[in-house]
């Protein structure tokens, strides 16, 4: 009986603790292991796409260069900067959650969501330009430059799948951070008494950021072979 009473007693002081855990340390360690296991699945999820990219980039190096020349490096760089800043504000949000500074947490979460929305805005400008130039795969695809048009289409298939899937992760991130901000706003014990849930959302956000850190050079910064780059 003792442990059950302990669990109920713990509920009294510490309403952030779920019934299946003995204490808050066990709960937090479980969150951390769970989140990292989830991130492993995400790495494997994107990993298959990076494998496909590597295979085709290896097979069609010149065509990939010609296709990538159509991507807007400036907008790509702007988006990279935006995401890096958003990771910084996310770290600050976790920092202030540890200090239990509600106002600073909310400001930083809002900045993070703002940056995420800005990223999606820039991305939609890019997508719009690609659609205007018929650079989306399918029967309407048009390519007038150098290179094999079919392989260029393969490049854009990969581009839309990988950046699209990344954008979906950004949207999920916005929803997660939004829910987290709402809980902080309501001063819910699950996030007020315990900073680990905030840290976990932060981990997810850094992962999404990290995927872009790989996507940006792989798509936007493919160097020209003729100028001696690799």
């Amino acid at each position: 009986m003792a442990a059950l009473h302990d669990a109920h007693a713990a509920h009294g002081h510490d309403s952030a603790l779920h019934h299946q855990f003995e204490d808050i340390e066990q709960q937090n360690e479980s969150y951390v292991v769970g989140m990292w296991a989830f991130l492993v699945t995400e790495v494997m999820f994107f990993g298959a796409l990076f494998l496909a990219y590597t295979l085709y980039r290896w097979a069609y190096q010149t065509d990939f260069f010609y296709a990538a020349a159509e991507l807007d490096r400036t907008l790509g760089a702007v988006n990279t900067t935006i995401l890096l800043i958003s990771s910084f504000t996310m770290v600050l949000a976790v920092h202030f959650a540890q200090l239990k500074n509600k106002k600073a947490v909310l400001i930083n979460l809002a900045l993070t969501v703002g940056a995420a929305v800005a990223f999606l805005g820039v991305k939609s400008v890019e997508y719009k330009a690609k659609f205007a130039h018929h650079l989306y795969p399918g029967p309407n695809f048009e390519w007038h430059g150098e290179g094999n048009p079919n392989v260029i289409q393969l490049f854009y298939s990969l581009y839309f799948v990988m950046t699209g899937l990344h954008a979906i992760h950004i949207i999920i991130g916005i929803i997660a951070i939004g829910c987290l901000a709402y809980l902080h706003f309501r001063e819910a014990p699950s996030v007020k008494d315990d900073f680990v849930p905030t840290e976990m959302v932060g981990l997810y956000w850094h992962f999404v950021d990290l995927v872009w850190i790989f996507l940006f050079p792989l798509y936007y910064l493919i160097p020209s072979l003729s100028r001696g780059g690799h």
């Binding site: 009986m1 003792a2 442990a3 059950l4 669990a7 779920h18 019934h19 299946q20 855990f21 003995e22 066990q26 360690e29 479980s30 292991v33 769970g34 296991a37 989830f38 492993v40 699945t41 995400e42 494997m44 999820f45 994107f46 990993g47 298959a48 796409l49 494998l51 496909a52 295979l55 085709y56 097979a59 069609y60 795969p137 399918g138 029967p139 094999n148 079919n150 392989v151 289409q153 393969l154 298939s157 990969l158 839309f160 799948v161 899937l165």
Partner: protein, 563 residues
């Protein structure tokens, strides 16, 4: 026992347990209790098993004639695809982990629940959504690609309901991932005081290895299936040969998951067999740590053997060497298990109860399944045997003879724990032997068929009418098998109403799950247990048994044990 005390002190005419604590439908559909979710899974996978078996029955019926008499070509393709998709994605993969893993894993390690109960419930809903979508595809038009969904047929040419079926398999994948993450966290962080890693039952070790495969492999099949959907719906042709894409890349990514998925199906069954062997030999499993690590070794090797499905594709000869060699290596940890189970019987006190008969059947059939796998892992013989009935027979020996016998063994072993009722032992033993007989009559002839050149997925063989006798034998065996799946459905249902009540430990087995009440209370334990004894610590005399409905403990020593 302390477990029989009512935790909240209320007076009940029946002991409160997880089944009777609440009765509304809502309390089941919104439950966080791992035991109730296990029951939800048990009911739903049984429905899918019934549907998948029906499709198998149609396939077997069609093959009784060399010219086909029941179905058109495309209908036949849809029938075997339905069988494969339902059985693999919606029965075999969730079967033991989602039912018995869910139910037993927290109890075996001394926890009140899995680490994330809501994630666990979500996994059941994802499974149901995925299963419903796949059924809409299969019954509303059908899919003719085979369960492997090979491109470019699945992505460009097939006019059947591929998209919605693949979407179903994709969503079911996330259900599996949720279960895998939950198990890993639970095993790492929720063990009771004193429950060290080397006191974990081998069932838990097997589920840990399975969960590792799930979280590393399933995301890859998810993205691969998503790419096929993207190609069908949006023409994003990553595997399109006309764009310079490589359809064989699909096969690589598909088998990168789907070969390890075979171990997702068989490892939990091996865990079940280890538990049953220890309990019915009244002996610690021989070479406990070797059996535990062989599960991890199988999980590790499983990711480096996928190419043996592709010896006759465009993959290089040197890749073929590598995959052939590593596939041979998988035989080592598998053999470690089989030899150690056999050594467990030596000088054990063997009780041939129903679960034990299933376990012995498993060992025999899995051994045949595993050894015939070596023929297919050998480059030269595989060229002759690939895509033949030899392959069909081989993987059915592992999947049906292994995974389903493991499932039935687990069902009969833990049924008293799950529902607190005993089933008729005579029927149980008879049926275990009937499954074994029916199974061998079904699948042994298929080895002969395949070796003589009968290709899989063909339903005409009029140029070789001598195959008919083997096909008819196989169909006759399948009929016996069908009956042997219906008999437990009847007597287990009967036992729920009329079966005698089971004590906490009806088999005299050792383990935390046998120290809690049958059926357990919602929190499993009245107090968090402190584990002081080693795993499978069987005494010189038999484990105690609790007399049903009383506090009395008896030692059911049998006459041959009295010295």
């Amino acid at each position: 026992m302390s477990a029989s005390l009512s935790p909240n002190g209320q007076a009940h005419h029946e002991e409160p347990n997880y089944l009777n604590v609440t009765h509304t439908l809502k309390s089941w559909l919104l439950t966080g209790d791992h035991k109730r979710i296990a029951i939800l899974y048990l009911i739903s996978i049984s429905v899918f098993f019934f549907l998948g078996s029906t499709a198998a029955g149609l396939v077997r019926l069609e093959l009784t004639s060399p010219t086909g008499w029941l179905m058109e070509n495309d209908t036949y393709n849809k029938a075997f695809t339905a069988h494969g998709v339902i059985m693999i994605f919606f029965f075999l993969i969730p079967s033991i982990p989602a039912v018995f893993g869910n139910f037993l894993l927290p109890i075996m390690i001394g926890a009140r629940d899995l680490a994330f109960p809501r994630l666990n419930l979500l996994s059941w809903y994802l499974y149901m959504i995925g299963g419903t979508l796949a059924l809409i595809g299969i019954l509303g038009g059908g899919v003719d690609t085979g369960w492997t969904f090979y491109t470019p047929y699945s992505s460009l040419y097939s006019n059947s309901q591929v998209t919605i079926t693949i979407l179903g398999a994709f969503i079911a994948g996330f259900s599996s991932i949720a279960t895998g993450i939950n198990f890993i966290v639970t095993i790492h962080k929720m063990r009771a005081p004193g429950m060290t890693w080397f006191r974990l039952p081998l069932f838990v070790w097997a589920h840990y290895a399975t969960s590792l495969i799930i979280i590393l492999g399933t995301p890859v099949i998810a993205i691969t299936l998503l790419l096929v959907i993207a190609e069908r719906v949006f023409r994003l042709g990553v595997f399109s040969p006309e764009l310079g894409g490589d359809p064989v890349l699909f096969q690589h990514l598909f088998w990168f998951y789907s070969h390890p998925a075979v171990y997702i199906m068989i490892l939990p069954a091996m865990g079940v067999i280890s538990e049953i062997m220890a309990a019915f030999c009244r002996k610690r499993v021989f070479g406990y740590s070797f059996v535990a690590f062989s599960s991890l070794a199988i999980a590790g090797l499983s990711f480096f053997v996928w190419g043996h499905h592709m010896f006759v594709t465009s993959q290089s000869m040197y890749q073929g060497f590598f995959f052939s060699l590593v596939s041979f290596l998988v035989a080592v940890p598998s053999a470690v298990k089989v030899f150690n189970w056999t050594a467990t019987i030596y000088k054990g006190r063997v009780y041939l109860d129903t679960p034990m008969i299933y376990a012995l059947g498993f060992i025999g059939l899995f051994t045949i399944g595993g050894l015939t796998g070596l023929y297919l892992a050998t480059l030269g013989t595989d060229v002759h045997l690939t895509a033949s009935y030899f392959v069909v027979a081989h993987f059915h020996y592992v999947m049906v003879g292994g995974a389903i016998l493991g499932f039935l063994g687990a069902l009969h072993f833990w049924w008293p724990k799950m529902f607190g009722r005993m089933y008729p032992q005579g029927w149980g033993k008879f049926n275990a032997m009937l499954v074994f007989a029916g199974f061998n009559i079904t699948f042994l002839p298929q080895f002969v068929l395949g070796f003589n050149g009968m290709p899989r997925r063909y339903h005409y063989y009029y140029l070789y009418p001598e195959f008919q006798v083997y096909h008819i034998l196989s169909t006759a065996g399948a009929s016996i098998l069908a009956v042997s799946f219906l008999i437990p459905a009847v007597y287990l249902t009967w036992s729920l109403i009329k079966g005698p009540r089971a004590s906490a430990n009806p088999w005299g087995a050792h383990g935390l799950e046998w120290e809690v009440a049958s059926p357990p209370i919602t929190t499993n334990f009245v107090t968090t247990p402190i584990v002081r004894d080693e795993v499978y610590a069987y005494d010189e005399v038999d484990e105690y048994e609790q007399v049903q409905g009383t506090e009395e403990i008896v030692h059911p020593t049998r006459t041959e044990d009295k010295h």
